[in-house]
Amino acid sequence: MNPETYALWASIHGHLAVLGLAVLAHPLITLRRRPGLARWTLRTTWIAAAMVALPFGLGWWLYPTYRGHVKPGLRAIDHPALWRFESKEHLAAACLALVVGGAVVLTTAGRTAAGRRAAWWLLACGWLAGVTTAGLGVYVASVAQPGWDQREAQ
């Protein structure tokens, strides 16, 4: 993969994830404000889960390129972005587990208030992890790019 292709897919990966988090705000708000479970609340939950899973998959696909071509330069100068990237990948994994878990709980137990509350907490914790991931991702993307050797920048 050349640097331009990597940068393009990394950008798509980040934008899709942010869009997914924005969509996830819909069920988080409606589950709190409405007494029952609206049809669109369930739909947007699954759309958000898919929009979180897809960039996660893209991240998996991009990871070997990052590891082979971007990480060595960051490690050479011990750039803080190296460690922020590590936190980002950990939080992304937790985010996906919580959001998909929350979507399944809402689908299978969303008729009851207890089920909706459990789903809300899973989605809310997933959203928190996702927003933190996105914030770290914006920072990392601003400095960690292939084609720009960190050692030359020093």
Binding site: L37, R39, L42, R43, W46, W60, Y63, P64, R67, G68, K71, P72, R75, W83, R84, E86, S87, E89, H90, L91, A93, A94, L96, A97, L98, V100, G101, G102, V104, V105, L106, T107, T108, A109, G110, R111, T112, A114, G115, R117, A118, A119, W120, W121, L122, A124, C125, G126, L128, A129, T132
Partner: protein, 102 residues
Amino acid sequence: MSVRDRPVLGLAAAAAGLAGALSYTVQRLVDAAQEGPAPGALIAQEHIPYYWRCGAALLHALVVALVVGTVATPEAAQRWLARAWLVPVVALPCLVALLAVP
């Protein structure tokens, strides 16, 4: 898309989601606590620890879902789902740990 009244599946999914996050966190903390190879060698390693951690976390989540789905009764599942406060009690420390230990 319709909602089914299956509290046992709901509890199994909630347990799986939490187990996935918890498993990943524990694996990462154990990795961080152990003496690892030199930083330069990490890049040259044949396998990618991140993939292994995600794979193991998925496996743990599936096993937990299977066990909970098999063992829990609908009444017990409703009782446990009502304890939704357990979700942030488990998930938030995981998120803090993952942020604190890169």
